[in-house]
Symmetry: C2
Subunit: 747 residues, 2 copies
């Protein structure tokens, strides 16, 4: 026994050393696992449908308990009550959902109450695609890995009684309802209801299907189920089991209900390793089984873990950084890793996926993606995909167009083929136009244009993407009256989102030769000026009759409190959210006033690194000639303050990789500050050399290198593109991918 | 519209007239539908797995509400709040279960709350295999019929909005949990948990599967589901829908949970007839679909109704009665109909059924039956089956032997392949031995003998059929101490049941040439004498040390109150439950004391016609030479008092046809008073001529006729068998089936 364990550690050690130069080794999945980063250290493959994540936010005495606050994560670094490994999880989102299909290994007598069977865990180790820990209460060593559609767990049980509890009652989702069927002593199948994410569209509930296979035949199998509480005369007969959980042995048939689970029990003569493989599908149990069989059957845990690590290395190596500290590299590759979690695949190995809304089974030829948190990701994540992973980005655009086909509307916050309508605006239009404007145009333009203009026009009241579009068209902004009438959230924020979308549609129209549409949408975009109050220099809520809404305090709305006009921010945080026309916005302010307001925002703590509306502010100094050094200073300052190689090393919620994309770009010295405009703002890179591998198929070139050289300061002296002086602190996408080398000379 | 309705009524009229001579026309399914008879007027085929029954015992203001008392029926004649038609139902049982898969037709806006969508119904008409009514609130005329594995409903909706609500939340079962999937605009599939009948074996829960097909495409489809109630911070976001039911439109995927349903909605330009067909299976959804397709697809409602009526007529015509009043005939054929409800088929059209305990799919070559309420039915129902429907009885015996193979034990109260362990004793042993002793022996004797003796011997504590068998063997009776120690119910009742079983096993052994076993079990059976207290002339609870338990009051235990020694009865009602050795019992009393006690029991109201232990008492006078006339008087009196052509026309709970079998036999003038002994006690028939069609295959003859002739009194003068004088007031089964005519000459 000792010998075996020793061999295991030696092997681990060898593996670690051998892969030391792997980019995947720079991933620290613990980054973002506290301070509401909402990431997790679980095992996941790039864009995996499945992740295997330790669940430690369930339980009354837990510090961050899932139901004690608005907690949207199954794992919190500082918590200590572990209750199993969940197999479908969201990373960096703001509402609770999924966190379901939970396996908990225990020893001794069967206990099916997570409050009592929970344990502390120790020796947590997380790498890209791998997690291991020791479950203290039961002395079980555990390793986890995953492919895109299956999770694999290895439990080393001590001798004696052992149990695998498959808990379908507990979940992060507030939905309930599950079916479980013990197929035989090595296999369980079933489904679990999830959905109603953020409760904006509370009818969007649906099942996640699973098949679980275990490599050791269970000595005993059982299911448990919660009996509903009966009142009245019958209650006397039922006695102790009324309203209680029942353990039903040898039940090889479906059990259905709101709270249930299955148990595989063992009695091991000696310490024994058990491998549990769980395949997931959103189409059917059969597909979950296909996913499992195709991806992980007849493959050992170690081989799967290695393959997944190789996959991670393969995607992460698209950007090679040199120079910079080890921590910088860890922050960088972990951020890049976090941009590869969501969107994730929804389609099964056979290409099948549930169509949006009806969930009827369809088949895709590419990849069907899901988890589009577009209000977040339109700002930088998709620009990163376009630049470095154009094939993925195209699949994402095509997914959006398929959703348009399926539902009549582009997505806003799509989750497993449901539309959650979380946040505001028309972000898919921006993503599609931005992708096209950058030259990644291998999708159906005409359908795309039809889709992005449908939500821009449809005024019959049934426009789920752009509520109050009629007022917006009529007044050039959404009057605060509509907000007071509860027709929508946040009249200013929503108007600003519509302006960006309209700007993007205008650019798209122009490229497609639709000159009339270009003019029309550009005009619409410039409507932002109507919301600019020259008295206060704020974009502020305005009535139909043109009067400004009052009382008005630009501080209102801090810390997610409700305020009129804005969502998840206040007037400061939306003050400059007109990235598509910064010169125009600056004119509204006057250059000096603009700069002072920016300075004020940063110096008075109004800047919120943890949320999206002001995420591009640090780059706004680039628009003031001679003040670009402030961008260089701010970006460095924010990076070092908020993005670190620690559990709290993401500014706040990662927003499905949006924050991470910000730091990935910022560390490369380029940032797509104006969605819909194919440009990058430039700043000081964190590394001496950055090699971005380009996809030859789309960019006609293999790579572009960004080099930092010269002085030791953080201030840029000059910028050269392929040896030629570069004017200003912006670069077009076309110029970037066309260049061999961007040289940034430091003072 | 008027014309159509008129035609419909005329057609109904013609059908009624045309079939007036059908035996099925004498069935009045309303008999037993109040006074806790627990039968129902729903549409069912002979031994059908499915019945379509109006559910009117749900709702707060209902007089007999399912949860306000220990109500075991979905229908109560005197109730008025109808909430839909349930498709799996039990008839004449004592605990609530099934009553699930409920369809409710409504009009107007969708309402999914049975408390408010419920309606009165009028013009209720019930025939064998057919029910029709008018749903007042919605002005919907409804007709129902059924095959063995499918139910068919025809709803005539008025013009306008119409809805079919498939409610999987409401049920008579106290279990919950269902899955529903709208397959398309004409089809719904799913499953619903049921089980834990009587709560003796509360882990026995399992799904019933269904497929519903509708002949008109729905304009809109939806499912509804109950959201669980969330507390804490998230509750604020959820607002009105927290803990509420949600209607989810166009959901073509499974929805699972404790409370849900599906909706098909229509908007009819004119009055429209809609046919709903529901196939049921206990194996799988696929089998439910097969059952539906095989039995009712491409067949019109009327054709199915006619076929089912023909089937009823075919089984009922096995006994033809002549003479007697129309009401007598109705009572008789309705009782015979009630003996053909349970046991019912469990196997699907392809022979598949869920094996007991594991519910693994097995295939039968004959019929797999279910719903064996054996503590009741061993007393007369199976003897009726043996005599008139031997093929069915053989399938029932083989089902019991299969259950023995599957679980290691014979059934006691079997329900859909679960063992509910309701009531006491070892009744399957009696049924099997009795069947064999009557000469219906085409089953595996050796396995049967092994099965009946296993429970008689197994003393290792794991004997679920005969608890306390060790004490019983040791002391010759179960000491009351075991009852006080809560090792079992009712020490006297249970001992008495074991004696009958042992007597039956003894007879079976003797027939098989196992002389030693014969002696051993006969001795065991005679143990009843040890419980006979000559001081009081009661079979009374006794301690291990031989002392009688006291205090002792033979009145204790009336009206189902708890008493020591007896279950569902008192010392009077068990006083003569030694039918296998009445001469021996009479010796214990002394003939005079025996007769007085019998007289006392009848005259003081101690006789309970509504429950089984004393059900053979009226025939006990036949054992007292010269007093047989009292049997003739009592049987007539009881028949006329308790068994009438009225809704309260069954003495009490029909006990899956046991009460009905009592009246069927009693009206024929023959009653199998001593289970395990192949005899019938004789009394005055209710009819002038009774022709029992015999199955040539088993009895080598076509029929036996019982004729009543002579005087007008109810007293028998003499009995002849094929013209020869018959001695005494009993006849062997062999003699009965060997005879051509039994002539009963009246005084």
């Amino acid at each position: 026994m000792k010998k075996l364990i020793l061999q295991f550690f030696i092997l681990s050690l060898i593996t670690t050393v051998a892969n030391a130069q792997n980019f995947a080794d720079y991933v620290n999945p613990f980054i973002g696992t506290t301070n509401y980063g909402a990431t997790n250290p679980g095992a996941i493959a790039p864009r995996g449908m499945v992740s295997v994540v330790p669940f430690n936010t369930y339980g009354g005495e837990t510090t961050f308990e899932k139901d004690s606050g608005w907690l949207s994560q199954v794992y919190e670094k500082t918590n200590s009550h572990f209750t199993g490994f969940s197999h479908v999880n969201l990373s960096g989102v703001g509402c609770p959902d999924l966190g379901a299909v939970i396996v908990m290994p225990t020893t001794g007598e069967i206990d099916i109450n997570p409050l009592t069977y929970g344990s502390t865990i120790s020796n947590q180790e997380a790498r890209a695609g791998y997690f291991s820990t020791h479950i203290d209460k039961y002395d079980i060593n555990t390793e986890l890995t995953a492919t895109q559609r299956a999770g694999i767990s290895k439990y080393r049980f001590p001798a004696g009684k052992a149990n695998l509890l498959l808990n379908l009652g507990q979940a992060l989702s507030n939905e309930s309802g599950a079916m479980v069927k013990v197929v035989n002593e090595q296999e369980i199948e079933g489904m679990r209801m999830v959905g109603s994410f953020c409760y904006n569209n509370p009818k969007t509930i649906y099942p996640v299907y699973f098949v679980m296979k275990v490599n050791k035949k269970a000595d005993k199998t059982a299911v448990w189920q919660q009996h509903n509480k009966i009142e009245g005369p019958e209650a006397q007969w039922m006695e102790a089991y009324n309203g209680q959980q029942r353990i039903i042995e040898d039940a090889y048939y479906p059990i259905i209900g709101d709270s249930l689970g299955a148990i595989f029990s063992y009695d091991f003569a000696e310490p024994t390793e058990v491998e549990v493989k769980i395949g997931i599908s959103y189409v059917s149990i059969e597909n979950a089984r296909k996913n499992l069989e195709t991806e992980v059957s007849n493959v050992s845990f170690d081989e799967i873990a290695n393959r997944t690590k190789d996959n991670w290395n393969s995607v992460l190596s698209k950007i090679k950084v040199e120079g910079g500290s080890e921590d910088d590299k860890t922050v960088f590759y972990t951020a890049l890793y976090h941009t590869m979690i969501h969107p994730n695949v929804l389609s099964d190995v056979n290409g099948e996926y549930p169509a949006s809304k009806t969930r009827k089974t369809k088949t895709t030829e590419g990849e069907r993606y899901t988890v589009f948190s577009l209000w977040d990701t339109y700002r930088d994540l998709h620009q990163l995909m376009t630049l470095v992973y154009p094939e993925q980005q195209l699949n994402m655009v095509n997914t959006m167009l398929d959703i348009y086909d399926e539902t009549g509307w582009l997505p806003k916050w799509e989750l497993n083929s449901t539309e959650t309508y979380t946040m505001v605006g028309d972000p898919a239009a921006i993503v599609i136009a931005d992708t096209y404007m950058r030259g990644l145009d291998q999708f159906d333009h005409e359908k795309a244009f039809e889709a992005v203009t449908k939500s821009a026009y449809e005024v019959d009241g049934g426009n789920p993407v752009r509520p109050c579009i009629d007022s917006y068209i009529k007044y050039g902004y959404i009057p605060v009256d509509d907000e007071i009438d509860k027709k929508l959230w946040a009249s200013v924020s929503t108007s600003l989102e519509y302006y960006v979308a309209d700007w993007s549609v205008a650019q798209f129209a122009q490229s497609l030769g639709k000159q009339d549409k270009y003019k029309e949408f550009k005009e619409r975009a410039y409507g932002y000026k109507k919301l600019f109050d020259k008295e206060t220099d704020f974009l502020r809520p305005r009535h139909k009759d043109g009067k400004w809404y009052s009382p008005f305090d630009p501080n209102d709305g801090a810390n997610f409190t409700h305020n009129i006009g804005y969502v998840e921010g206040n007037a400061y945080q939306y003050n400059m959210m007109v990235q598509f026309d910064m010169p125009g916005l600056i004119k509204q302010f006057g250059t000096k006033a603009f700069e002072s307001r920016l300075d004020e925002i940063f110096s008075t703590g109004q800047f919120d690194m943890a949320n999206e509306p002001d995420i591009a502010y640090p780059y706004a100094y680039n628009y003031i000639k001679g003040k670009e050094y402030k961008t260089q200073e701010k970006v460095l300052e924010l990076r070092e303050k908020y993005f670190t190689n620690k559990a709290d090393g993401i500014a706040g919620n990662d927003d499905t990789g949006t924050m991470s994309a910000w730091v990935v770009f910022s560390m490369m010295g380029i940032y797509p500050d104006a969605p819909g405009t194919p440009q990058y703002a430039l700043t000081t890179p964190a590394f001496d050399k950055i090699t971005i591998e380009l996809d030859q198929k789309y960019w006609g070139k293999d790579q572009v290198v960004i080099k930092k050289q010269g002085g030791k300061s953080n201030h840029i002296q000059s910028i050269k593109v392929d040896g030629k002086s570069h004017k200003g602190y912006f670069i077009n996408h076309k110029d970037l991918v066309g260049a061999n080398e961007i040289t940034i000379n430091m003072k």
